[in-house]
């Protein structure tokens, strides 16, 4: 059973990192700036998921806060980027 969980964790890690890789490709390709913002935002989300996976892998709660902090403040840079694109400045 341990093995099953390990394999599934490894598979999940692989998938999530692969997802990040795909996002990165979108980040590179663009073509519009909003695409890039979206891609970056998704990379952050994937990173959050990855932290959760790490937590399960190591059976440790230490990784949780990091994921939580992304959930709480990860959107700030995306919103800032979006606002910059929309309004030309982020704090008016």
């Amino acid at each position: 059973m341990k093995l099953l969980l390990e394999i599934s964790l490894y598979f999940s890690q692989f998938c999530v990192v692969l997802a990040m890789l795909l996002c990165m490709l979108r980040l590179l390709k663009g073509p519009t700036a909003q695409d890039r913002v979206l891609a970056l935002d998704t990379i952050w989300m994937c990173a959050m998921l990855f932290a959760l996976l790490l937590g399960i892998s190591f059976a440790s709660l230490v990784y949780f806060e990091w994921a939580m902090l992304i959930a709480l403040t990860g959107f700030v840079s995306s919103v800032a980027l979006a606002k910059f694109l929309m309004r030309g400045e982020i704090i008016e």
């Binding site: 490894y10 890690q13 692989f14 999530v16 990192v17 692969l18 990040m20 890789l21 990165m24 980040l27 590179l28 663009g30 700036a33 890039r36 913002v37 891609a39 970056l40 990379i43 952050w44 990173a47 990855f50 932290a51 790490l54 230490v62 990784y63 806060e65 990091w66 939580m68 902090l69 992304i70 709480l72 403040t73 990860g74 700030v76 840079s77 919103v79 800032a80 980027l81 606002k83 910059f84 694109l85 929309m86 309004r87 030309g88 400045e89 982020i90 704090i91 008016e92």
Partner: protein
């Protein structure tokens, strides 16, 4: 003691003189004369001792570790020079009283003159070679000031600069030479050096030392080829010339050669260097003197010539030549001083020194004319005058050297005599002939006391010329004895030695000299000719300026070649230096064979870094034209880095990096608003030049090498197992000593809290600097207007204020979330703060989280609305934070512990149980406050620029253009 007084008196006088009122000509003069007189009397008072052969010494401890004490030492030679220095100074001061215009601000003049006298005095009574060099340089400096006294005149400035440049180069050489001499002799003390004469001459460093000292002496004494500065020094007021070029400045070099004569002379090197320089100088000087039109110029070249003569005598190296040299030094001082003063009188009274204009002056100023003629006769070496005697001695010595093979020495001596007679004739010719009519002033006799010094000096010429033994015999002998010691030869200072070869040479010189003058005058129109035959090409003035200019410009070229004012090459060099430093690592390459195995690779981790690295590389590629894309790509690398920290057991780092990522993104976006867009080279149809391509490929190569080096070092370090580190201590003591289980946090707030204190200081400094800078920020012209996005009417928000957008516009709905988020983030910040000591978190992270929460509010509703409702005052946060951290640290002082020692208070509260309150907690609170304060201050200060620039009246007009620049 007398010696010290003798030395200090002039400097004291200098200070007092400088403080006198600007036009107190009389008071100044009398005061300076008083000082000089005191000096003279002091010197004379030492005569009994000195004449009995005693060397008076006075020693003051200064730098015993370098064998360097101040030694004042008066012997016969020094005494003779002292008398000259003080005596002629007295006369010059007297003369200057009349010479200087009432409009001249004389305090400066007399102060400099006295200082110069002091320096000169210092040179002659120095009993230590280093000390001698010090005074030597001081004479250069003070003479520079004296020559440049009329500094509003270009020629005075140039003369001063030339003199100073040449003599200070010589001074540096002298310093080097003296150091060598001291090195050989083991002491700089003059007596010690003189005592080890044989050792010195035998030493291998003798030749360089001699050369260096000779350079010093020859430059100072204006010897060929360094003679060119002296004529230009004539731009000084005449009293200065009279003083500097008769008895003092130029004689310093002579003095030095005499002083070191026992040590350095007597070798072929000495004869060659000194003798050759002397011969050349005396001939060239005398030759050039003939063709001068300026009276002072003539005297200047004649001075050069006579100095050459003395140098030549010293170069000959026989004891008798030494006596002759001393004697001629004295004689030259006397007649040359009087001649300069006479010329000064002529200049002063007639308004010109140009011999082409002056003639027949003897009828207008007969008395002065007589004096001048007598003095110039002394200069020419007419019998019964002092010049004759020393010249005869010179001829005799020249014969001695040139007796058998080196006949050229005798020939040179005669030739010099010929020229000397010729220029003396030329000099006195101004007194004869028709009365000049077109003079600036009508010449007449000068005031009685202005003439007095000349009279006195001419009288001396006569007395010495007529009764040499009686008048000067003993002092001369004392002086010579102090140099020569036991080698003092027998000599006879008689006027008449019978008809011998020197006399014949003299007669020959006279005859030929007069002939030469006549020929030149009547055949070659000497009196009006502009060009100097043969040597006319050499223009010292232009040569000096040109060489200075070439020196400066070639230095500038060199400097440009070996430096840069641009940043990129500097960074390139810096990286290169780093690479060179890292190259050391290559000596210790471990074998990487086992290291390349694949089981070392964790696939998700590798893929993660594939993302991170690709983002980094693409950011590097995009940063020029696609700043926003680059910024986002860097963000990709950042999140990967943060995740790596998390993965590799550094949760605190991961959290901090994460928050810093967010804040940095916001920061850069705030900045990007003020960076106008770049139009790519392709769009502008620009093609990169080959040079650019070359540079890019060079940079690329360097970057790749640097990266590879970094890779190798990193891998090396990783494969090399760590030995014992101090970290085990931290792990062991974190709980018992630091009271926290999060060792990283305990390190930050306890073990190494001093670092943290410095770190928050850096943060504060940066924030304050940013604030200060942004107060005076002027944005780029293109970005002053409101952004194109806001100017475009398509968006209904363009007609709303930020507050309207947030409270009723498109941000209304997001705003509901974002506003709800503020207390949530606040609670989270508190959470991260509270747990920091035991679990990942702490003041830094909490501060950043809180700041991000605030930033969201600013982004939502704009600065104006937020600040109308909440005054955050980040300055206070910063100051309070630093204060908290400091006072926590100071608290431990009260308990007797070192600064920043942490303590834990254990409080038992009824309901809650035992609560641990470590003082590190308050310290961390300070950190929190500083982080919040700095982050907010930086971001808000940047954000405020938008508000400020919108107030700019011209901004609205710019809308049309702004709209046309709308982004694609």
């Amino acid at each position: 003691m007398t010696l010290l007084l003798l030395l200090l008196l002039p400097f004291l006088g200098c200070v007092i003189a400088a403080c006198m009122p600007a036009y107190a000509r009389n008071r100044e003069a009398w005061f300076a004369a008083f000082i000089a007189l005191c000096g003279l009397l002091l010197t004379l008072s030492l005569y009994p001792e000195v004449s009995s052969g005693i060397v008076i010494k006075h020693e003051l401890a200064w730098l015993p570790m370098f064998n360097l004490n101040l030694v004042l030492r008066m012997d016969g030679l020094a005494w003779l020079f002292s008398v000259l220095i003080q005596g002629i100074c007295l006369l010059v001061v007297l003369y200057a009283r009349y010479y200087m215009s009432p409009k001249d601000p004389v305090p400066r003049f007399f102060a400099f003159l006295l200082a110069f006298m002091g320096a000169m005095q210092g040179v002659v009574i120095s009993g230590n070679l280093i000390q001698l060099v010090m005074f030597w340089e001081l004479t250069s400096l003070t003479s520079f000031l004296l020559i440049g006294y009329w500094h509003h005149r270009a020629d005075a400035r140039r003369g001063a600069r030339m003199a100073f440049t040449v003599t200070s180069i010589g001074g540096l050489c002298l310093l080097a030479g003296v150091l060598l001499l001291g090195y050989i002799a083991g002491s700089y003390d003059l007596d010690a050096v003189l005592a080890s004469a044989d050792v010195i001459r035998a030493h291998q460093a003798y030749a360089p030392a001699l050369l260096l000292i000779a350079l010093g002496a020859l430059t100072k004494s204006a010897q060929f080829p360094f003679h060119f500065w002296l004529p230009h020094a004539m731009a000084a007021p005449t009293p200065v010339s009279a003083y500097l070029h008769s008895a003092t400045m130029v004689k310093a070099g002579i003095f030095l050669l005499m002083r070191l004569w026992p040590v350095l002379a007597g070798t072929p090197e000495w004869t060659w260097i000194i003798g050759t320089a002397g011969v050349c100088t005396m001939l060239i000087g005398a030759y050039l003197a003939i063709f001068q039109h300026d009276l002072k110029g003539l005297l200047a070249y004649s001075t050069i010539s006579h100095l050459g003569l003395i140098t030549c005598l010293l170069g000959i190296g026989t004891p008798l030549a030494m006596v002759a040299a001393i004697f001629h030094t004295l004689n030259h001082a006397i007649f040359k001083a009087s001649l300069f003063m006479a010329v000064g009188i002529i200049d002063h009274e007639s308004g010109t020194r140009d011999m082409r204009k002056l003639s027949g002056l003897s009828r207008l100023m007969p008395y002065t004319a007589t004096l001048a003629i007598v003095a110039s006769a002394a200069m020419a070496g007419v019998p019964l005058l002092n010049g004759f005697l020393s010249k005869e001695m010179f001829f005799a010595e020249a014969l001695l050297v040139g007796a058998s093979t080196n006949w050229w020495m005798s020939a040179a001596a005669v030739l010099m005599g010929v020229f000397g007679v010729a220029y003396s004739m030329r000099f006195i010719s101004v007194f004869f002939g028709a009365r000049a009519t077109e003079l600036p002033k009508q010449p007449h006799e000068p005031p009685r006391w202005m003439r007095f010094p000349v009279e006195l000096l001419v009288l001396c010429c006569l007395i010495v010329g007529v009764a040499p033994q009686l008048s000067i015999g003993v002092p001369l002998q004392t002086a010579a004895a102090s140099v020569l010691g036991e080698r003092l030869p027998d000599y006879n200072l008689a006027i008449w030695h019978g008809i011998n070869t020197p006399l014949i040479m003299s007669v020959l010189a006279f005859a030929l000299g007069i002939l030469l003058f006549k020929v030149l005058k009547y055949r070659f129109n000497l009196l009006q000719s502009i060009h100097i035959p043969v040597l006319y090409r050499f223009n010292g003035k232009q040569a000096y300026e040109s060489s200075m200019l070439i020196l400066a410009s070639s230095a500038a070229r060199l400097e440009r070649l070996f430096s840069t004012r641009r940043l990129q090459p500097q960074l390139f060099l810096l990286v290169l230096a780093g690479l060179f430093a890292s190259a050391l690592m290559l000596q210790a390459m471990p074998d990487f064979k086992h290291a390349w195995s694949v089981d070392n690779v964790n696939l998700p981790f590798a893929m993660l870094w594939l993302v991170g690295c690709t983002c980094a590389v693409c950011a590097a590629w995009q940063a020029k034209y696609h700043r926003l894309a680059a910024l986002m790509l860097v963000g990709g690398t950042g999140i990967v880095t943060s995740l790596t920290f998390l993965w590799l057991s550094a949760p605190d780092l991961a959290l901090t990096q994460l928050m810093v990522e967010t804040v940095t993104t916001v920061l850069l976006l705030l900045g990007l608003r003020w960076l106008p867009s770049r139009i790519s080279a392709r769009k502008m149809n620009l093609v990169a030049s080959n040079r650019d391509k070359l540079r890019r490929s060079r940079d690329l190569v360097i970057a790749i090498i640097a990266g590879s080096v970094m890779f190798v070092i990193s891998y090396f370090v990783l494969l090399h197992p760590a030995n014992f580190t101090i970290s085990n201590f931290f792990l062991d003591n974190a709980v018992p000593g630091g009271g926290g289980t999060n060792v990283v946090n305990v390190l930050l707030v306890d073990f190494r809290n001093f670092d943290t204190l410095g770190e928050i200081t850096v943060l504060s400094i940066v924030a304050l600097t940013v604030y200060a800078l942004l107060r005076r920020f002027r944005p780029a012209q293109e970005s002053i207007g409101i952004p194109a996005q806001q100017a475009n009417q398509v968006d209904p928000a363009s007609r709303q204020t930020p507050a309207e957008q947030a409270n009723s516009g498109y941000l209304l709905i997001p705003g509901i979330y974002l506003r709800l988020l503020l207390p949530v983030i606040g609670i989270s910040a508190a959470y991260f703060f509270m747990r920091g000591h035991n679990l990942p978190g702490g003041g830094f992270i909490a501060g950043l989280v809180f700041a991000v929460g605030m930033i969201i509010q600013y982004m939502l509703a704009g600065t104006v609305w937020i600040e109308s409702r909440l005054k955050l005052n980040p300055h206070r946060w910063i100051a309070v934070g630093i204060g908290l951290a400091c006072f926590t640290g100071l608290g431990s002082l009260l308990l007797g512990y070192p600064f920043l020692t942490t303590h834990t208070a254990h409080v038992t509260v009824p309901l809650l149980g035992e609560i641990h309150l470590p003082s590190a907690f308050i310290f961390d609170l300070g950190v929190f406050a500083v982080v919040v304060g700095t982050t907010m201050l930086i971001l808000i200060a940047l954000a405020h620029q938008s508000v400020r620039s919108h107030r700019v009246p011209g901004a609205q007009q710019d809308n049309s253009t702004a709209a046309s620049r709308e982004i694609r």
